[in-house]
Structure formats: C-alpha cells, structure tokens
C-alpha cells in the first residue's frame, strides 16, 4: 500500500483524485491547505504528493520548497498540480525541487497512468 497525499482547496478535485486512484494499491490522504499538507507529510511521509499551486493560505510552490529543504521530507516525490501552465510557474516549481507537474483540467486515466509510472509498476 503506497500513501498518496492530494493537496487542493477544491473539494471536488480532491474527490476526483481520490476516486481515480483509491484502490488496493494506494491509500489516499487529503489536505486543503498548505499547513495541513506540511503536517500530514511529516506525520505520514507519503510516497507521492499531488500539490496544487493555488492554496488558500500559501502557494503550493512554497510548500514544495519547504518539504524539499527538510532532509526528512526531501525524498518525498512531489508532482505539482496546476491550472496554470505558464512557464514561469513551472520554472518556479522546478526551482523549488518539484519532481514533475500535471496540468488541470486533467484526465483521470492519464493521472492514474502517470502515478503508476512514477512507482514503476505499469499495468
């Protein structure tokens, strides 16, 4: 069982990710704010964090930077989930140490495939 954390302020998005990925392979954790995300990562050390850029309390990029600069949480794979496909955002995410990004709106099938690929077990 791998642990995945989805961080997004929209309940619908979290619900969609959960419905897409929840299975006997993945356990899904949810956070809607940056501070909740940091707390959950330190608590559970998930295998993958899907991190929205626009969060109510802070930017997802900042959360990413905080996680990657902490040796304890740095190994966690972080994929930015963003509605903005602008180059500057992607550069910011890369600079903050993100491992990849996924743009909204997204296809659940593609998301599942991507996550499976990250963990190296293609179906």
């Amino acid at each position: 069982m791998r642990k995945l954390l989805i961080v997004d302020d929209e309940e619908g998005v979290r619900s969609l990710v959960r419905m897409t990925l929840e299975s006997d392979k993945y356990e899904i954790l949810e956070a809607k704010r940056g501070d909740d995300a940091l707390r959950l990562v330190r608590e559970h050390l998930p295998d993958l964090v899907l991190l929205d850029v626009m969060l109510p309390d802070t930017s997802g990029v900042e959360v990413c930077r905080a996680l990657k600069s902490d040796p304890e949480t740095a190994p966690v794979t972080i994929v930015m989930l963003t509605a903005k496909a602008q180059n500057s955002d992607l550069e910011d995410a890369e600079g903050a140490g993100a491992d990849g990004y996924f743009t909204k709106p997204f296809s659940p099938v593609a998301l599942l495939r991507r996550v499976d690929m990250i963990f190296g077990d293609p179906e």
Binding site: D9, E10, G12, V13, S15, L16, M19, T20, K32, R33, M54, L55, P56, D57, A83, K104, P105, F106, S107, P108, V109
Partner: protein, 682 residues
C-alpha cells in the same frame, strides 16, 4: 479664452505713428527749405536784373551827360557866348539837329534866364529858369548834372534834365540844358528785363518812379524803404508793398551810381508761391503716398502681429488646457516650459524648473526602480533619432517633487527649425495610474475567470471520464460523480450569469422595471433556492404589515440571493443568518446579519468594488469571482436605493440596503414611471 495684445504690437503701432509724424515733419521742412531756396533764387535773380538795369541806366544817362558836358567844354560854349542873342537861336537849333536824342536843348544865362531853346516853342527866351532842377543843380555843383524828372510845362511829358555849365575863365558863363524823356529809360535798359514776369522801377533822387508800370500813377517812392535805401547807395532784397502794385512783392534794390537814383526790381509773391505751391503739392502727394504705404504696412503688420499673438496665445491656451503633462526642452536637454498639468503632476513650476536638466526636474525610474539616464530618456532619443519616441507600456514611473511615484507614459517629438536643426523637443507625459489599475483589473479578471472556469471544467471532465472509463464504480460513487458534475455545471452557469450581469450593467443595457413588490414574497422564493446551500440556517424576521416597495422583482431576488448566500458562505455551519427589515420615513431598510468571518474596515471599504475579494485564506477557500457584491450594489443603485455594511473581523457582518416604499394606494402607475425615470438617470 482671452487674447491679450502683445506689447510688441503696441510698440510697432507707436513706431509707425512716429514714422508718419517724422515723414510729415520732413515734408514740411522740405517745403520750407525749398521755399527759402526758391525765394533766394528769385530775389538773387531780381538783384542781378537790378544791377544790370542800374548799369544800363548809369551808362545810358552818363553817356548823354557826357555829350552835354562835351558841348559845354568845347568851343561851342565860347561860340555861344560870343554869339549875339539874335543868332543864338539858330545856333542852338543847329546843334540840336546834330543830337536828335535830346528832346530839347537850351542855353541859360548864369543868372537863370533862358537865352535860347530848340525846338522853338519849348520855352520863351527871357523867362526865368533858375528854379528848374537841371539848371539849379549845374549852377550849385559847378559840374555836369543830371536832374530829377520834371515837366517842361504844366501838362508836358516827364523829362530828365542834363545840364553842364560852361565857363569864361573861371566864372560860369552859362549852362547848357538838354532834356530827354523818361520813356527813353525803357530802351536804355532794353534787354535788362526779367526772365520771368515782374518789372523794373527806376526811381530818381526825389523818389519819383521814372520807368515801369508805376510811372502811369505818378507814384512816389520816397516812403518806400527799399527805394530810400537804394537812393542812399545801399543794395538789398526783401518783401514789401510797393506804390502802384497790389499786394506784397518780392523786391531787390540797388543804386544807380553817380546819378543818385535807384533801381527796384519787383515780382509778385506768386512768382515764389506758384512753383513752391507745385512743389508743395508734389511733396504733399509724396507724403500722402508715404503715409498711405505706412498705414497699409501698419495695418498688415498689425494683423500679422495680431495673428502671431493670437496663435501664440492659442498655443499657450492649448498647453494650459490640455489635461496631459506637456514639457518643452532645448537642444541641451534643459527644461524650457512645463504646462499646468505637468506642474501639478511633477510638483515643479516652470519658474523653478526652467534651465534645469530634464532628468533633474523629471526623474524617471524603470520597472526595476532604476533611475533612467538622460541618454535612455525618450526625449534624448527623440532628438538624436529625429523621430517621435514613446515609452512602452507601464515601464516608466515619475518620481514627483512631493515624493509620490506616478506611473506615466512618455512620448517625445523633436522640434526642428526651418533649416533642419534640432532646436529641442516636446514631451507629453501622461499619468497612466488609471490605465495601470485597469490593466491590473484585467489581469485579475483573466486570472479569476480562468481559475473559476478551469476548476468546474476539471471536475466535469474528470468525473465524466471516470464514469465512462471505469466500470468498477459502485452506484454510490457514480452518484457522487454525477453530483459533482451537476454542481460544477451550475457553478459555471452562475459565473456566466455574473459576467453577463456585469457586462449589461456596465454597458447600460440593464434597467430596473420598478413594480410594487412585497419583500416577504421575494424572500420566501430566495429561501427555496438556497436550501442546498444551507438555507435552513436563515431566519426571516420581518414584522407584520410591511409596506410594499418599489423594486424590480427579479433584481430584488438577485440582491437577496447574493447577500444571503454570501452570509451562508462566510459563516460556520452552526451559526444563524438573520434577515430583518424596518421602515425609515419613505424607505424600507433590509438587513442581512451573519456571525461569520467579518471584515476589517479596510476590507469593508472595498467590498462593493469589481473583482474585490478579501485576501484571506478563509475567503480563498470559499471561492468566488468577486463580482457578487459589485452586482448587488449596482442593482440596488438602479432601483433607487443604496447599500452599506457594518462589520467586524471575526464577529460577522450586517449588510443593509434601502428601497423606496410605494406610496399608499393611489397613483401607483404614475409613481412607478417617476421612479423609473430617476433610476434611469443614475
């Protein structure tokens, strides 16, 4: 706009007036000078004529006197003495026959008795002639003598006597007297006349005129100064009235030497006035022409200067009234002028800025807050590149003298002289604060709308794809997915409605159709639609017998929906939302009270603005376009009411709006139209 007359124009007019006066004075001086010169010329001519006449008279008379003197000195005299009186007559006749130029020839005794006269009959021998001027003169001087004019008989012609004594030893033995008619003077003077008009008057020692028109009247010149001076041997010219002539005459006088006579030459003043008059007329014409040219020039010049002054004033008025900052600089980049708009913008005045460097007066910074060098300024570039140069976008900020930073757009154009030299530049500096706000608002709109569009789209697409691709979803999850799709599509619908509302409000396409409306009825309808969003938390607390209000029912519905759903959105699920109403004079105040997150005074001040969203996590968590309260305010405005908020952060908010109470019963239709008209005016 007022035009002031230029001081230069006034100076030009004064100069022209002076020029006209000077030309007039010069003309007058020329006339006077010409008159003097002409007068001198005329009187000099007269004097010359007088001298010529004098000389002719002197030589003519003297030569005749010489003849008489010769007769007296020659033996003729002795012969006469020796001759018997009876033979004397024939001798005299004989001699006179030799000298026909003498009118008469007489011989008198030393005692003054006429001895003989030829022709016979011009006198009676034996009569006394001692009182005759010729005889008297010769006896008293003992020498040849020319007498004044006299008449031989009472009505005889005027003659001049030429007398010479003859001697016997040293005693006078007798006197020979010859007479010549004064008329002979005319032929003596002959060609000594004047070239132009006028006449010559010969005056004898008694002042009697001997020749000329004056002779006829027998005028005497004794009292004429010119004649008196000539008789005293003086010569001169002048203006005088002369006996026998009318009016003032130009006179020259000279003596006839040896005779004690004088010559006067006179001409009428017209001799002077006629040519001077012509000259004066010519000069006056020339002067008039000069004055005319001067006046025409003055008028043209005045118009031209007036035009220039007007254009300059117009240019100044344009500079002064243009709303954008305008500055002119010289070729060295020194400020020449700032218009009032730029003075306000920059905090400098033309007086304080003139002559200072451009960058000193108007320091610009770029978007990285770096000071802009002179060579990078659009003004310097406009001059060096000889073309109009403009700053890009919002890249320039002006640091004003009073410390504010103003985003500006700068456009500069070079000023070129006629020969192609760059004499400076003119720069237009526009305050683009408003545009920058609009630009930021636009970015905010794009960002908000794209976020608000993408989120529901993500869910619609994601959940529908899940439903289509995953066969393993149970019915509970399928329903959940469908509910998300449904909610998202409604959310999209609301967003589009809001955007359309804003667009229609802003373009003026939305109007209030005011009707008599009951508040409770509308509130109940709203409550029904709010049920899924927590409508059960709303308490409608309206007193009985509320008056009907003037409102557009659809718009009132939207206002209440927005206020109540906001109250529910920004408060916890346990708290209550209250809606109440009260009458204040002719207004109904409707309040929506929540116990939600509330707002700071700063947030409350902006809450009715477009895309205004309070920037706090609790608010961002809820989501929204920031258009709801803006639309609400505009709708309330349109219905003739107003809206305001009382709020405290962390404690909740009270939004209150007012509506007009409908007048009781009668005239409802009329009132409706009036209110509609008022609402439309806003």
């Amino acid at each position: 706009m007022r035009y002031t007359r230029s001081p230069r124009l006034r100076a030009a007019i004064v100069a022209l007036v002076i020029a006209v006066v000077v030309v007039g004075a010069l003309g007058a001086w020329q006339v006077t000078a010409a008159r003097d010169s002409q007068r001198t010329q005329i009187v000099n001519g007269e004097l010359t004529a007088a001298r010529l006449a004098s000389s002719a008279v002197q030589s003519g008379i003297s030569s005749r006197l010489q003849l008489v003197s010769n007769l007296a000195e020659q033996n003729v005299a002795k012969t006469l003495t020796d001759t018997r009186p009876s033979d004397l007559q024939s001798l005299v006749d004989e001699v006179r026959g030799l000298y026909p130029q003498f009118e008469t020839l007489a011989v008198d005794s030393p005692s003054g008795v006429l001895l003989a006269v030829s022709p016979k009959g011009e006198g009676t021998p034996g009569t006394r002639v001692s009182d005759k001027p010729a005889f008297a003169g010769a006896i008293s001087t003992g020498a040849p003598y020319v007498s004044k004019a006299f008449r031989l008989s009472g009505d005889g012609p005027l003659v001049i006597g030429l007398a010479a004594p003859f001697f016997s030893g040293k005693t006078i033995a007798g006197v020979i007297v010859c007479t010549i008619p004064v008329t002979i003077l005319g032929s003596i003077m002959g060609s000594a006349g004047l070239q132009s008009g006028g006449s010559i008057v010969v005056v004898d020692q008694s002042g009697r005129a001997l020749a000329g028109p004056a002779v006829v009247s027998g005028a005497t010149y004794v009292h004429t100064q010119a004649a008196a001076r000539a008789l005293h041997g003086a010569e001169g010219t002048g203006t005088a009235t002369l006996p026998g002539f009318s009016g003032n005459r130009l006179v020259a006088y000279t003596p006839v030497l040896g005779l004690g006579w004088g010559i006067l030459v006179e001409q009428p003043m017209s001799a002077l006035n006629d040519p001077i008059g012509t000259l004066t007329v010519h000069l006056a014409l020339i002067d008039a022409l000069v004055v005319l040219i001067a006046v025409v020039t003055a008028v043209v010049l005045a118009r031209l200067l007036g035009q220039l002054a007007k254009e300059r004033d117009e240019a100044a008025a344009v500079m002064a009234s243009v709303g954008e900052g305008v500055a002119t600089v010289d070729a060295a980049g020194r400020v020449v002028r700032l218009n009032p708009a730029l003075e306000r913008l920059s905090g400098h005045t033309t007086a304080s800025a003139r002559g200072l460097q451009w960058t000193e007066v108007l320091p610009f910074v770029d978007d990285r807050r770096q000071a802009l060098a002179w060579s990078d300024s659009v003004v310097a570039r406009a001059m060096s590149e000889r073309r109009v140069v403009a700053s890009h976008g919002f890249s320039r900020t002006l640091l004003s003298a009073n410390g504010t930073s103003i985003p500006v757009a700068v456009t500069a154009a070079p000023l070129t002289t006629d020969d192609g030299h760059i004499s400076g530049a003119v720069a237009v500096i526009r305050d683009v604060s408003r545009e920058r706000e609009v630009d930021e608002l636009k970015s905010s709109l794009v960002s908000t709308v794209s976020h608000e569009l993408r989120t529901p789209l993500t869910m619609i697409r994601g959940f529908s794809e899940l439903l289509l691709s995953r066969k393993d979803l149970d019915s509970k999850r399928s329903k959940e997915a469908l509910e998300h799709i449904h909610d998202s599509s409604r959310r999209l619908g609301r967003l589009i409605d809001d955007l359309l509302s804003v667009s229609r409000i802003e373009s003026g396409g939305l109007r209030s159709d005011l009707n008599l409306v009951g508040l409770r009825q509308v509130a109940d309808e709203v409550l029904v639609t709010l049920e899924p969003a927590g409508g059960e938390r709303v308490d409608i607390d309206l007193p009985e017998g509320l008056p009907t209000v003037l409102a557009d029912p659809d718009q009132l519905f939207q206002v209440l929906t927005n206020l109540l759903s906001n109250a529910l959105k920004y408060s916890s699920g346990e708290s209550r939302v209250n809606m109440s109403a009260s009458v204040a004079r002719d207004q109904l105040h409707v309040s929506v009270t929540d116990e939600g997150i509330g707002m700071t005074p700063g947030e409350a001040a902006q809450v009715f603005g477009k895309f205004s969203r309070v920037d706090r996590p609790e608010v961002r968590e809820v989501g929204g376009t920031g258009l709801g309260l803006y639309i609400t305010r505009r709708l309330v405005d349109m219905m003739g009411g107003s809206i305001w908020v009382r709020s405290k952060a962390g404690e909740g908010s009270v939004f209150t709006f007012s509506l007009r109470v409908a007048p009781a019963d009668d005239g409802g239709v009329v009132v409706k139209e009036q209110v509609y008209a008022q609402a439309a005016d806003r």
